[in-house]
């Protein structure tokens, strides 16, 4: 319409905007609360849009469920009932083990494991970049989802909450290039950092001393030392070991156990048991007394294999924990 009018942009305006973005970048890198607030505020808009676009597909699945044949529904109910009974049966053993383990742990260093609170969330958007793999879930601040909370699926650790808004939250996956977490190397007692590589099926762990005999197929579980992920959750399985003759170290490539390719629903641990408690005066004091000796016990693990073998059973039963929570409330 106005071809001959020149709408040349003002250089002052451009400079102001450039300065504003540079300042925002600096604030974001520094982790300031202003950047956090902008993220939460605008995030509510984008997460809301993502949620709206996801709504029709949810309606569609509801409608197909409604029109599904009666016999199919009955078959599903029967299958679920059988599964439920099976899980309940297995859980009985779990309760016993848990009691025993709690007893042993109190004997060891005065700490018992707590079953965490879990929240079921549905994935509503993917927002990947070369640096990090993210996805958005449909639970936000209102449901108690906060940045830093661990996210798992039926098999193992998926990632952690990066930011949370009123309408949703963004989760960063463990395979992101930016993501590191502290893990136990199988039964060897070695604790190290597991890095993401940016590809879906590879995590790396470098410079493990050769005396820890790691094998292909060993399970890496969270160590609980990072204060974010609770101890003992499965993360990945070793798929390759790079053994360089000249070095006294080995490097490991592992595949995540969580089914990252087919995620549709995930669980958020809204009250992770091993996470550091909120910094009030009382807990702060308790923390300074508790934390060092816990760290020493965890770090000084290599020699006694007996301790490890005691700690492994719960890792195997952990994935079934989510239904267990509800079962306990029903049973009592």
């Amino acid at each position: 319409m106005s071809l001959f009018e020149s709408h040349r942009p003002g250089i002052t305006k451009l400079m102001i905007l450039v300065l504003a973005s540079l300042m925002l970048m600096a604030l974001d890198r520094a982790g300031s609360s202003v950047a956090m607030r902008i993220n939460t505020g605008l995030g509510s808009v984008t997460d809301g849009i993502a949620r709206l676009t996801q709504a029709p597909s949810l309606w569609a699945s509801d409608i197909t469920l409604f029109f599904e044949h009666r016999s199919n529904q009955v078959a599903t109910i029967h299958r679920l009932q059988e599964e439920n009974l099976l899980i309940k049966g297995q859980m009985q053993q779990f309760y016993d083990l848990k009691r025993e383990l709690g007893h042993l742990k109190t004997l060891l260093h005065g700490q018992t494991t707590v079953v965490p609170n879990v929240l079921l969330a549905r994935m509503i958007a993917i927002n990947d970049s070369p640096e990090q793999r993210n996805f958005t879930i449909n639970r936000g601040l209102n449901d108690g989802v906060r940045p830093g909370q661990p996210v798992i699926d039926g098999h193992g650790i998926v990632g952690q909450v990066l930011r949370s808004s009123l309408t949703g939250a963004v989760v960063i996956e463990v395979v992101s290039r930016k993501h590191n977490l502290s893990v136990n190397l199988g039964d060897t007692g070695f604790i190290g950092l597991l890095h993401g590589t940016g590809t879906r099926d590879a995590l790396t762990m470098d410079r493990i001393p050769e005396r820890y005999a790691a094998k292909v197929g060993d399970l890496l579980t969270t160590s609980g030392l990072d204060g974010v992920f609770p101890k003992g959750y499965p993360v990945a399985r070793i798929s390759q070991i790079h053994d360089d003759r000249g070095q006294a170290f080995i490097n490991i490539v592992a595949t995540p156990v969580a089914d990252l390719d087919h995620l549709s629903e995930v669980l958020v641990l809204t009250a992770p048991p091993d996470a550091p408690p909120p910094p009030t005066q009382k807990t702060q004091q308790a923390n300074t007394v508790d934390q060092p000796d816990k760290a020493m016990i965890n770090a000084g693990k290599p020699p006694p294999p007996t301790h490890e073998s005691l700690a492994t059973p719960p890792t195997a039963t952990h994935p079934t924990k989510s239904p267990s929570k509800r079962e306990t409330t029903h049973a009592q």
Partner: protein, 158 residues
């Protein structure tokens, strides 16, 4: 007048939806930058309404939506819009294909700068895969011109 605002708002939301909806890995990697194309389109066709501030704000929205570094896309959106606004008279006289070539060139530089801000990538194959989005932009631009033109004319009639 009001219809143009309506068209701008509608197309922006459409672009956000196309950016955020999960359609699978392949789509995620090679999709055109819908929001950038929308902003540039309106910079060419409605410069009295859509300017630097709008572009900057949309960039910020994209940053938040993709959980990237806050302000990175906002900066590049503002620069892209400034360039397009400066060259607007030349661009609006050009054919959509010529415009598309210009936009693809601009978005290649955009993507390289964005990569630089984010902190680099290792292998050259991954870089080529990453830049494929510029090619998608080249293909998407004529399509966007057509669809947005239709939306604009339909809405200006009511």
């Amino acid at each position: 007048m009001r219809s143009e605002w309506l068209a701008i708002l509608l197309t922006t939301i459409l672009a956000l939806v196309l950016t955020l909806t999960p359609f699978g890995d392949w789509y995620q990697q090679h999709t055109p930058q819908w929001l950038l194309l929308t902003v540039l389109y309106w910079c060419i066709h409605a410069p009295s309404r859509v300017g630097l501030v709008y572009a900057w704000f949309m960039g910020l929205l994209l940053d938040v939506g993709t959980a990237g570094l806050l302000g990175a896309n906002a900066l590049l959106f503002a620069f892209g819009a400034a360039l397009v606004l400066t060259l607007r008279q030349m661009l609006s006289a050009a054919t959509p294909i010529q415009q598309a070539l210009f936009i693809a060139g601009l978005s290649t530089i955009y993507l390289l700068f964005s990569l630089w801000i984010q902190g680099g990538i290792t292998s050259s194959m991954a870089l080529l895969g990453y830049l494929s989005r510029a090619l998608s932009n080249l293909i998407a631009w004529p399509l966007i011109t057509l669809v947005f033109y239709l939306i604009r004319t339909r809405l200006s009639r009511i």
